[in-house]
């Protein structure tokens, strides 16, 4: 089957305008009889459900948490990009488009990314209108800051809680539609199967996580807004419940999986403290605006950071990348940290950490503040007091979070940080309309693969989630549902629903009947270790081949020896987790297959065999300028389909941040 990305013809800046002007519409009366299922209520899901509800569709929204407001978009810290050019610093739609294509190391689709840049400004307008309290300047206008991989200030933010404020905004819009009756909300429900009738997605099987009951839900279309799969690594910055299950079920029912190996390892996270670690906590990229990253120049230096003099410190990002310095993209910063630690310059008890130091910023802000207040004879200590107050206003909640976890005060001593799994650029393959290879089944936000190529730039995930939900799907869904207005709601006693429910029930019964000796948690940890060691920041063919065999063996063991206590009929988090880990194990294998197949380094995918002399990623545009879209063909069987990437506007070059 040839992949058709359905990118509209015409010049790059006319594609979306033309699409919107010519797509089919559904009249208001018909919308009322069309039902749409939205799975997941993060930024993409909540904004899609609210917008579609406002338009008059009958929406059913599902989330596994106790409330739609808990979705993990809430934890995004730093900000959201938009090409507003409020700072008059040379930003434009084109510039945001260009930065995103380059940041993704030329592995994203031009058409999608340009659309994303085009609607970015509308997102900020929409969020402000809905009451999102973004940071403001004294003149009452919106404030901006910088993020990695760009040279303009286009990031809007709400302290270190931007994701929270945006999600609450979208959640409130969603709850308004619930009150108006256009959206029905199903919390503590998990989607466990997609129902396909005559080749189209027509519903889902969901499990009520409180009662354990399986439910059948019909929809003319199904939208998966279920986030990323970083938890395949066990340790990541994702929430404990974040999972791939909905996307994986869709994949096994015919939706191709795009670029599964493209994983983002975020450079600034609080390091692992021991085997008990259950998750990792991000320290926002925004901290790199003011924090300077360094390690001692001497190997195995065990002195306290304050005892290491300025000239004995190696600010390695500033040294290697003078043009972007501490604000290089995430993949570059992460690899550079790993390189220093592997070479024996790491700090802290594990030696797997580098310093993120605010000393210079505190002094600089202190001096500015002293000048503002007209105090010109202050001592260094007095200046530092003023500087700390400024830093506290900018990053206070992040500093508090750091201190709670580590017991150390980052105002006094540099933070210790190390890269951690954060985001997955890969996901379900979608066309320009966000439709997967299964007609009627869509994927939005992090759950799809489309906009970030091989590396996502900071503050772009929130942008994409809301772009897809607020401004893209309302048009593209209508274009397809316009052909469905004569389709009556299909009763859920249709044989396809019965069969799908039986499949789910059989699998749950099988899991519960294993009654082995090893906990779900233990299997998850073992999978995570294989993935991190062999499909993490550095990958090579030999390791990946080993990983594939190890994962196959682990899967066999899981299905013969997992122990799940409790009952099927009732609240049973161990059972929920078992289903998710089973899917992660299968996904992990596909990720390794994909990583092994891609014989080049690009963005976050670093194949150790393919690097330049100074350790930078070495792309192979002649052979790998395509999207890997994998089709499920049965147990451990996947067929590769290639979607060639055509760069009509941006000319791929070697990515340089020097």
């Amino acid at each position: 089957m040839p992949l058709n990305s359905k990118i509209p013809a015409g010049p790059i800046d006319a594609k979306w305008k033309t699409y919107k002007a010519t797509c089919k519409l559904v009249n208001p009366a018909n919308k009322r009889s069309l039902e749409v299922i939205v799975v997941g209520t993060g930024l993409a899901g909540a904004s899609a459900a609210a917008s579609l509800g406002e338009m008059g569709y009958k929406v059913k929204a599902f989330c596994f948490q106790d409330s739609p407001r808990r979705a993990h978009s809430i934890a995004a810290q730093g900000g959201i990009n938009a090409a507003k050019n409020y700072q008059n610093d040379g930003d434009s739609t084109y510039r945001l488009f260009y930065d995103t294509i380059k940041g993704g190391d030329y592995r994203a689709r031009e058409g999608n990314v340009h659309r994303l840049a085009e609607v970015s400004a509308n997102i900020i307008d929409q969020c402000v209108a809905a009451g999102v309290p973004f940071a403001r300047e004294y003149g009452g206008l919106l404030s901006n800051r910088s993020f990695g991989g760009t040279q303009v200030q286009r990031t809007f933010y709400a302290a270190g809680q931007t994701g929270q404020q945006l999600l609450i905004g979208a959640y409130q819009g969603l709850e308004r539609q619930v009150a108006l009756g256009t959206v029905t909300m199903y919390s503590r429900h998990e989607m466990l199967e997609v129902v396909i009738i005559d080749g189209k997605a027509r519903g889902i099987i969901a499990r009520n996580l409180v009662t354990g009951e399986l439910e059948r839900h019909f929809g003319h279309a199904v939208l998966l807004c279920t986030g990323g799969y970083g938890n395949v690594f066990y340790l990541s910055t994702n929430a404990m419940g974040s999972n791939v299950t909905a996307a994986w079920k869709a994949h096994k029912k015919g939706a191709f999986f795009g670029n599964p190996c493209f994983t983002q390892i975020h450079p600034t996270c609080i390091p692992v403290s021991g085997d008990h670690q259950s998750k990792l906590t991000l320290m926002s990229e925004s901290l790199r605006n003011d924090g300077r990253i360094w390690v001692p120049k001497k190997q195995n230096d065990t002195r306290k950071p304050v005892d290491i003099a300025e000239e004995e410190r190696d600010y390695y990002l500033e040294r290697r990348y003078p043009a972007f310095g501490n604000l290089v993209p995430r993949d570059v910063a992460s690899r550079a940290a790993k390189e220093r630690c592997d070479a024996g310059y790491g700090v802290g008890s594990s030696k797997m950490a580098v310093y993120l130091d605010f000393g210079a910023a505190i002094e600089r802000y202190g001096k500015i503040e002293a000048n503002k207040q007209g105090k010109h004879n202050l001592s260094k200590d007095e200046i530092i007091v003023l500087g700390k107050a400024v830093v506290k206003e900018k990053y206070g909640n992040l500093f508090d979070m750091y201190e709670k976890i580590t017991g150390e005060n980052p105002y006094e001593t540099p933070m210790r940080i190390y890269p951690a799994v954060h985001y997955t650029m890969g996901g379900l393959w979608v066309d320009y309309e966000l439709m997967t290879t299964v007609p009627g089944l869509y994927a939005l936000g992090e759950a799809n693969f489309s906009d970030h190529g091989a590396n996502r730039l900071g503050a772009s995930a929130l942008m994409q989630g809301l772009a897809d939900g607020y401004f893209v799907i309302p048009y593209t869904l209508g274009n397809n549902l316009a052909d469905d207005i004569r389709t009556k709601a299909i009763p859920t006693d249709h044989p396809a629903f019965v069969a799908a429910e039986k499949e789910v029930a059989d699998r749950i019964n099988k899991l519960m009947s294993i009654k082995g000796t090893e906990s779900v948690e233990s299997f998850h940890k073992r999978l995570g270790k294989i993935m991190w060691d062999k499909c993490g920041m550095g990958r090579n063919a030999e390791g990946l081949k080993q990983a594939i065999e190890e994962i196959k063996a682990l899967r066999k063991e899981f299905w013969s020896n997992v122990r799940i206590p409790g009952d099927i009929d009732g609240f049973n988090p161990e059972l929920d987790k078992a289903g998710r880990v089973a899917d992660f194990i299968e996904l992990g294998e596909l990720m390794c297959i994909d990583a092994l197949n891609r014989n080049e380094s690009c963005g976050g995918h670093f194949r150790e065999e393919y690097q330049t002399e100074d350790g930078e990623a070495l792309r192979d545009d002649a052979n790998y300028m395509f999207v890997s879209a994998w089709e499920y063909k049965g147990d451990s069987q996947y067929e590769l389909h290639k979607e060639p990437l055509n760069y009509e506007v941006v000319h791929p070059s070697s990515r340089s941040y020097k």
């Binding site: 409020y86 209108a129 009451g131 403001r136 404990m240 008990h276 998750k279 150390e408 609240f571």
Partner: protein
């Protein structure tokens, strides 16, 4: 910082479901590292229970970084435990020493029925938001974001109120199980912004009505909610809610709101 290991006694509330009554069960956990989070200590307990063939303790948790509002343990009589401005998931075991006994209960409130063990149903909070905790602006209606300047202090105050994570600690801490701090945080967030002004007169009235309908208690100005709030939501918000509520009563719009 000096790290150490400890052995602990846990008294944990167990309850099969909302229909049965519950009781405390005692457990011992050993070799708990002072570097663990409180929930990681619970992970150790649950792994131990699975190994013994017993059912693990059910508890709500998700982001484990203090922002999703899902974790909800009442620890030694305090919502989210002893640290101030803190969630359960951010509490770390360096707070405890070898031999300590820790009592863990679910949130206690009629409007938060227990689902299982330490897990409660907080959907009443969603229904309060449905009653008016939003600005009625459809997608696509917005003007340019900078067309509406907002005084920085005003915007900062709105943000401080909007920082509420909807965890329900305020209700759990209140002897009356009142949800006033939660409701007032949302009413304040929206009342402090010009965008929230058009619906101001019905919002407070409708949200308070819904709060009462859900079975939350009355506010008697005790202040335990503010003391236990992980995000430091201020009591000033309750004063503002009272003003908004009275304002909506006097304007007559509330009556219309009631009729809608």
């Amino acid at each position: 910082m000096q790290h150490y290991n400890m052995n602990l006694n846990l008294k944990v509330w167990r309850q099969k479901n909302s229909k049965t009554s519950g009781a405390f069960e005692t457990f011992k956990v050993s070799n708990i590292s002072s570097e663990m989070s409180f929930l990681e200590m619970f992970d150790v307990l649950n792994e131990q229970l699975v190994a013994e063939g017993k059912e693990p303790v059910a508890f709500d948790h998700d982001c484990r970084e203090g922002i999703c509002g899902m974790c909800s343990m009442h620890i030694n009589g305090r919502a989210h435990g002893p640290w101030s401005k803190n969630t359960t998931c951010q509490l770390h075991m360096r707070e405890y020493k070898d031999g300590d006994t820790i009592v863990v209960e679910p949130w206690r409130a009629d409007a938060f029925p227990v689902i299982k063990d330490l897990v409660v149903d907080r959907s009443s909070f969603d229904r309060i938001i449905q009653a008016g905790g939003y600005i009625s602006v459809n997608t696509g209606n917005a003007q340019d974001a900078n067309a509406l300047p907002i005084e920085k202090q005003q915007a900062d105050d709105a943000f401080a109120a909007a920082a509420c994570i909807g965890c329900g600690a305020c209700v759990a801490a209140c002897p009356n199980a009142s949800a006033m701090l939660f409701v007032s945080a949302k009413v304040s967030h929206l009342a402090l912004l010009p965008q929230g002004d058009p619906e101001r007169k019905t919002r407070a009235f409708n949200m308070v009505n819904q709060m009462d309908a859900e079975g939350f208690g009355s506010c008697t100005n005790i202040g335990a909610c503010e003391a236990e709030c992980p995000k430091g939501i201020s009591l000033e918000n309750i004063a503002r809610l009272n003003r908004e509520y009275v304002g909506s009563m006097l304007s007559g719009s509330a009556v219309e709101g009631l009729q809608q």
